[in-house]
């Protein structure tokens, strides 16, 4: 699905203004890239809906790009919530989980949330910037320049962040799997 395939018009069928068009096209492109498992045709439909509604309130929009991105992301997220529920596989295990009020998906989300909170508590603002730059694929030198420190201090800071994340991951793994690494004693022998 390319830009040209989006039919961005208002309720009367007139083309939307250029600012709205550019904002929605960017949001569409980002959504396609960030959600490769969602049907591109569906995202195109939502983009056209977003463009149509944006055109009606265009005069009040302070930042069309951010509005379009937030609106389209919201629609994708809503669909992922409801769409995933429809695709749920059937079976005794699933039924029991549903009756019990939990599912693997919910448990996974909870575990992840707890893990994120643990990392948040471990890393300070400076560590967050280091993490962001590392995820970008930045070099040690770039990280050091961002922190306004020497290369060796930068490398140490990077190492500290990695160690902190590793420590959090270790704690999280032990919590999820309490039996892991524990010594199992044979009850019949002294």
């Amino acid at each position: 699905m390319t830009r040209a395939e989006l039919h961005l018009v208002d309720t009367a069928g007139r083309p939307v203004r250029p600012s709205v068009q550019a904002a929605v096209e960017d949001a569409f492109r980002w959504a396609i890239r960030n959600c490769p498992l969602v049907d591109a045709a569906l995202i195109a439909n939502w983009s056209e809906e977003v463009a149509c509604s944006m055109e009606t309130i265009a005069a009040e929009l302070r930042n069309p790009a951010r509005y379009a991105a937030a609106a389209l992301n919201g629609k994708v997220r809503d669909w992922q919530r409801t769409g995933a529920a429809k695709l749920e596989t059937m079976g005794m295990g699933c039924d029991l989980e549903r009756v019990g009020g939990t599912s693997e998906r919910i448990q996974g989300a909870l575990d992840r949330k707890v893990f994120f909170e643990q990392i948040k508590a471990t890393l300070n603002d400076r560590d967050q910037v280091i993490l962001l730059l590392l995820l970008d694929g930045s070099s040690d030198t770039e990280v050091a320049s961002a922190l306004a420190v020497t290369s060796s201090t930068g490398r140490k800071a990077i190492q500290r962040v990695k160690e902190r994340i590793a420590a959090t991951l270790k704690v999280s793994r032990v919590k999820n799997d309490p039996e892991h690494g524990t010594r199992t004693l044979c009850p019949t022998k002294g």
């Binding site: 994120f116 967050q128 910037v129 730059l133 590793a166």
Partner: protein
């Protein structure tokens, strides 16, 4: 880990977010990574999503050549390979090498001692890298325009010499839109110490702007805080003290 930055810091109301141009400039490395907006992006999921999209856009255009390698966290212990027996003819060169290694290690220990002294300074820097939230209310403020009056520093408008998450309530009847907040040594705006841009948000009929300013390098003293309206560059100055 990308999910962590994308989900752990929700800010749907976009409070204190830098404008798109700043985020884009940082993603495209047109702005220094030292910019205080980086601190915000690293702790705001919405801004990080925007930053990442701009970064990926640039990568798709082929202007970026980075390995998007994930953070490698190694917790494994290193593997030691057993050494072979050393022939006697290598004994003398090895002894020289050992002596050299000892020298290097000695130098390293000495350097470490020197570095431990420097660590105290680094800790102090870390403390200053934590942003401080400050609110400046200019709703009833008297403005200075141009280069006429002698400034009388207002005691109540003071900012710390740190990274400041500044919330400015703009004067009565201020137009909404984008504003640049500037801290300068002079009213001509030639010696700019820090600068940030933002869009107004209204609360109880008062327009306000949120910006992040890096005042770590500002020496204590009298400054000017300028509000520059984006629509027509209308500039107003307020005396300010940095402590």
């Amino acid at each position: 880990m990308k999910d962590y930055l994308l989900k752990a810091f929700p800010n749907p109301e976009r409070r204190g977010c830098p404008d798109e141009q700043t985020i884009k400039a940082l993603a495209e490395r047109r702005l220094s990574l030292n910019d205080p907006a980086m601190l915000h992006i690293a702790s705001c999921s919405e801004c990080y999503a925007e930053y990442r999209n701009y970064r990926l856009d640039k990568e798709e255009r082929g202007e970026l050549n980075v390995s998007s390698a994930p953070v490698l966290v190694t917790t494994e212990t290193p593997i030691f390979v057993p050494q072979r027996s050393i022939p006697l003819k290598w004994a003398a060169p090895l002894a020289i090498a050992a002596a050299l290694v000892c020298g290097v290690v000695g130098f390293g220990i000495y350097r470490n001692l020197e570095l431990s002294k420097a660590k105290i300074t680094e800790t102090a820097q870390l403390a200053y890298s934590n942003p401080v939230a400050v609110h400046v209310d200019l709703f009833n403020a008297i403005t200075l325009r141009g280069g006429s009056d002698d400034p009388n520093p207002l005691q109540e408008v003071t900012l710390p010499a740190a990274i400041v998450n500044l919330a400015v309530t703009l004067p009565r009847f201020s137009q909404s839109g984008s504003y640049t907040i500037l801290i300068a040594k002079d009213r001509a705006g030639k010696q700019v110490v820090a600068e940030g841009s933002g869009t107004t948000s209204e609360s109880h009929g008062r327009a306000g702007v949120h910006v992040t300013l890096d005042l770590r390098k500002a020496t204590p003293g009298a400054y000017f805080l300028a509000t520059i309206r984006g629509s027509d560059n209308g500039t107003y100055y307020y005396p300010l003290k940095v402590e």
